[in-house]
Structures are given as C-alpha cells and as structure tokens.
Amino acid sequence: MKKDFSILVGGAAGEGSRKAGLMIAKLFSNLGYRIFIYDDYQSLIRGGHSFSQIRASNKKVLTHRKKIDFLLALDETTIRKHQADLDKKGVIIYNSDKVSIKDENAIGIAMETIVKKAGGVSIMGNSAFIAGFAKIIGIGWKTLEKLFKKEFKKSKGVNLKIAKKAFNDTKNLIKIKKLNQKSLSVLTGNEALSLGAVKAGLDFYIAYPMTPATGILHYLAARKEDFGIAVAQLENEVSIVNAAIGASYTGARTMVGTSGGGFALMTEGLSLAAQSEIPLVIVESQRMSPATGVPTYSGQGDLLFALTAGHGDILRFVIAPGDADEACFWAGKILNLSWKYQTPSILLIDKEISESTFSFDKNILNKIKYEKPSVWDKDGQYLRYKNTKNGISPLAFPGEKNVISKANSYEHDEFGITVEDEKSTEKMQNKRLRKFKEMKKEVNKLEAIKIYGNKYAKKAIIVWGSTKGPAKEAAEKLGIKMIQPIILEPFPKKQMKEALRGVNKLILLETNALGQMEKVLNCYGIRVDRKILKYNARPFLPEEIEKKLSKF
C-alpha cells in the first residue's frame, strides 16, 4: 500500500490554489500523514502561475519530490507546466468548466457550474475542487465536513453546499488509509519560529514587510493578544533595528525579521548592538539573487554577508536551522543566547523554511524555556560595562531604583562615559574579547552539528539550512553520511572535526552561485572535494541530488 503521496494544486494567482493546497494537506494530516508543502508563487497579486506541492507521507518529510501522483489543475497552464512530472499511474483532476483535456483518465469537476447553482462566488470553486478530490481518494463526507466547518468562518453554509454537490458528483477512485499515528499540526517555518521565540520570552516583535519574512509579522500581529506580546510595524528597516535595540535596552526581549535587502539596511544596528552590548535578534530569511533578485523564491546567498555584516570587530551568533522544528527550537535558543551574551545574533533561514508548511511536533516547545540572563546584584554603583572576568557585565534597566544605565555606541568606560584613550579602548575591547571566548565555549555545549544518513560512510555531503530537507532524503536513500552545521558562528570547529572523522570524500551542496559555505569551511582548514550548487531560485529536489551524487 502506497504511503507517500505528491499532490500538486495549481492555478493563477488569486484563484486560491494555496488555500486549497493547505486544506488538502490538512485532510491528509487528519489521517495521521506527515506533511510538507512547497509553495511556489510569483511576485504579483493576480494572474501568472502559482502552485502548491503537497507531500503526504507516513514518515516525516522535509521536501517535495519531482514526481506527482495527483495533478489538480484550476487552469490550463497548470496542466501544460506540470503534466511531464505526472507519475505513470498519476491522475489529473481539473476544472472542467475552464479546461478541456483529452486524457481519458482525467477527472473533471464542474467548478463554476456547481458554484453558480449554489449561489456562491467564483473563489468558492475551490470548495468543489477539494471536495471532489476528497471523494476521489476515499475520504468520508463526515471528515470533510468537519474540516470545512473548522476552516470557514464566513459563508460556511454556501461552501458546504458546494462541497456536498461536488462530493456527490465525483466518483471514488482509491481508498487512502488512515495511519495509526497521532495527527500533528501543520505550520509554516515562520509560524514555528515565532512560537519558539515566544516560548523563550519574546516580548516585542518589530518589522517592516519583506518577503519571505512577512509571515512572522502577520502571524505575531494576529496572535499578539494570545501571547501577550507587543508587535509593531515602523517606517523602515533602519528604524526597526534601532528601535529594537532601544527596546532591548529597557529589558524587553525584542526580535526583528527581514530578508537580505532589509538586513543590508539593518547592518548599522549589528555594530550598535555589538558595541553597546545590547541583545538583538534578527531573523534573516533569504531569497534568491542580489538586490531585489527573485523576491518570492529561495536561495542561500546571504551566508557570507550574515557572517560578516556590520563594521568593526563583531562576534555574533549565526544559526541556520534546516526545517520548522529546528527553526522553532533555535529561535528560542538564539533569543536566550543573545541575552546571555548581550550580543547581536542572526537566525539565518530562507524562503523554503519561512513559507513551506511542515508537520510540527509540538513537543519541541517543551525543550525551550526562558533562560534568565546575568543581572545586577544591586551592590554598589551600577556599572553598565563592568569589567568582569568573563566579559559579561550584569544587566540592569532604566526605571530600576538606583540604576543609572548608560549605553554607548562610542567606546566607553565601565560606567558608560565616552572614552578615546588607548588604554581604555584596549581594556574594553579585551572585555568584549573575553565575552567572545565564552560564546565559543557555549557553542561546544550545544548540538551545533547534526549527522544524518549512514554515520559510518566514507562519502559525506555537507549541507546547511533548508537544503537539509532534500539532501537528507537523498543521503538516506544512497546510504551516505550527511553533515549539517546549524551554528555557523562561532563556528563549531571541534564538532565539525568529529563529524568529518573517517570521511574521505566530502561534497558540498547549497543553493547559491559562489559556493559560500566552501569559503567558510576553508577558513577552518576543511577542503571539499566537490560542490553541487543550484541557483535557479528553486530548492534542490531529492531526485536530482541522488542523480548528481551518483556521478561522484
């Protein structure tokens, strides 16, 4: 019995293919299937071609595959573009009011006719489509009705009427089996990381809209009362980063989110946070190419930038989770780390993590807690930049009795008064260097590198961020080793050395044009034998990795 399905739902932007895809995913999810949805859309509001590719499997999945079992076409373009990827046994399901097709195995659903008869509006055609598909794969009416009632707040009645008609009109083809495992929530990476940050004590989220990070702003704005946090949108990324540092100075755990272009504007804030020793967490969700690039598609081209952004000597945490679970966990961790070390840090993700939908194991949340940073013991005069042994000066905040907290972007003395003399400058730099040492030690205590596939294989691939998904599937199939560094700065040298033990062939995979991770590895004396790079703004697929790896 097949337990791994790929379903592609496509149409023009504005036709509702994303929502339809999500509902279909939820149907599978309710049956115990593990979900991954790849969303592909262009930078436009109406027209063009958008599609969602849903993977539903009995095992955890972190990637979509090339081959499709069900092609759900709201328009003709969808068939033209994706028919070639349809499996031999695959089925096309289409809007028969709009598309004519000669394939005798294809199943038509008269979306417009059904909607018209029920007195609905054209977007409700999706309800007919979803219901028809549910019937085809053998999902019962009761299950479907329950989902509709949950998903539709407005016009529930009309949608149900449309769904019922389409359900009755469509013939059943197969029977999808209910799996004997717990159903999980389906969340985007943006949503998962938001939850992780909130769990670790996030107080305030500030952002300026930028794809693909905007989902964090939307999610937290919608749920701010639930979480009891503040959310604000300000005039530009420069004000965002500076306001965030201002809020952190008062003791509010603040996070900002953006993509490469917005991050470029925020870099002055990295320097400010480092020099004034104020915690700052930036979520940088990459998209493809420099400048405006390919704004709604993914890439991993900001690695070197994230590692080096900001003027002056700065050490920051750069953490690159590879899926929604990791995004959740590390969003919480990075917030705690940032506060522990009063330092800027970057959660480096990309569109594949931000906007893809995953089955999310909420037990991850139990691993995240609010970790209290070092605070002033109220003894003597408060010194914001007290020259301590480990370089970490205890925190106190304006508004606290007997506290004068002087934060300074200039070089400063322990109290926070501007200094320029060589002795004080070196002393304070040394204080920060001691803190950097502590940060490096901290990385050794964390699971900075993950290993997948065959741990003992001599052939290994090295991947980071969202490339984990397709690479893991390929590595497991091919029986090779996969090494995934998650903390990229401070670089986990020891753990990497350990991971590379016994490996005699190392192949790097990443979705950028320059092979940026190779440069990073070279800094630590690690040579890669081959690079497989992809830079057409689309993620790797497991099949193509398998094919390429079989050559080496």
Partner: protein, 281 residues
Amino acid sequence: MVKKNINLDTYAKNTWCPGCGNFGILAAFKMAISSLLTDGLPKENIVVVSGIGCSSKIIDYLNLNSFSSLHGRPIASAEGIKLGNPNLKVIVCAGDGGTYNEGISHLIHAAKRNIDITVLVHNNRNFALTTGQFTATSPEGFKGKSTPKGSIEEQFDPIKIMLASKATFIARGYSAKVEHLKNLILKGVNHRGFSFIDILQPCVSFFDTYKFYNERIFEMKSENLTSEKEALKKINQWGYGQKGMKIPIGIFYKIQKPTYEKRLLKGLIPSKRKKRIKVTI
C-alpha cells in the same frame, strides 16, 4: 517658589568650544530636569537619548540614564525605549545634521504616530563636529568646506515639516535664552504626545549666529495654540534663511491626541511582562 538645582554632573570633561551654544542648552536642560525631579519624577525614569555630533556629547555630562545611539537614529532608539517601557520619560538630544539630514524619516514618522517622546534639536545649522558642512537648515549660500562658494540648496523649515507631519507639540527655543528654553523643555516633556523643540544654537567655530539671532529673536505670546492656521502664520515669519527681520520663539502649536504607545500597547509594558510558560499552537 525657588527650586534648588539638583546636581546632575558627571566626571566627564566637557569638550565643547568656549562660547558654544550647547552650554546654554545644557544649563536649561539641567534646570528643567531639576524641576521635574523636585516635583517628584523618579530620576531613574528619565532616559536621555543622543545621536552623534557636538549636541550629543550632552549625555556624558548628565548623571542620568542615557543611550548614545548612532548618527541620525536617536529618535528610532527613543521610540524603542518608550515602547519597551512606556513609564519612562524619554528625551532626545540631537543635532540638525542627524535629525534633518540623516534621520529625517524617523522624525516625520515619530511625529505622525504621536509617540510620547520629546525631541530637542540643537540646531546650529551646520555639521560642526565634522568641521562645518551645510545641513538642511543651513541657509542657501552657506560657505563651508564642502561648499566653498556657498551652498546651492535652499534650506527647509523644520517647524513647517513638523506641522505637516502632525506633531502635537511644536516649539522653537534659543540657546542664549536659558530660562525661556527651560520652560519650553518642561512643557515639552510634560506634553502627552510627540513634542518637538527646535533650539537655535550659534556655533562659534563654524556658524556664529549670536548677533543675527540677538537682533531678531522675540518671544511669542502663547495663544491660539490649537489652530493650524494661526501656527502657520507664526511659522511663516521666518524660514531659516538670512532674510526676515523677526524670529519668533516659543510654542507654535499644541494639541491633545491619543498617544501611539497607549494605542499600540493598551497597558502592556513589554519589558516588565511576565515570562510566558505556556504557548498554544
């Protein structure tokens, strides 16, 4: 009632030029803060935020909570501080270069959203710490090192920009009229909402305007403060150029509107929030 000034000095050595207008601003500022403290404002609740430039050295000379931000960004920092803890009194001290050139967007948007902070612009009408280049309020023809034959750009009027940006408290002071300035600062800090005070400040090294201002400045009467039309009439008496016989100082405009932080936070204090343990999906 005569109020005793509270000592707000630090051990930092003052590095302003002798005769700098900043001394007058510092004196007025200390008097205003003293008065607030005497009236019961807890000292720990005051935060002074500065940018970069001669003006911004002021925080080193004040034994108060302070945040030295980046050039052009103190308003953005101050907004974050106010939103992190709305119980704080947040006062920005910044120059014309930082506020009207580098950080003009922050000034306009802070005014627009009526966040309850006070912005004092030490307006010496040139970039002084970088040795005298023209800013947005340097008069056309300003001779500096980057414009040896005179600036070819006409200056703009920040007061008019603030009126158009919906600031709810708009005033102008003069660094040499310390008592008047002290009262303006007090009124600005006590105003609930965004308060803006442009402080004319001679720069003895690069743009000495003492004579020019002393001949022209007069104190306006505080009347018709809620009328935009009346405010505009007063504003139009001088456009920051070399022309105009009279320069009014005092409050141009003052109205009451709900503040941004009240509307955004609805009583929440992000920095004092209880750490949440439970998170539902």
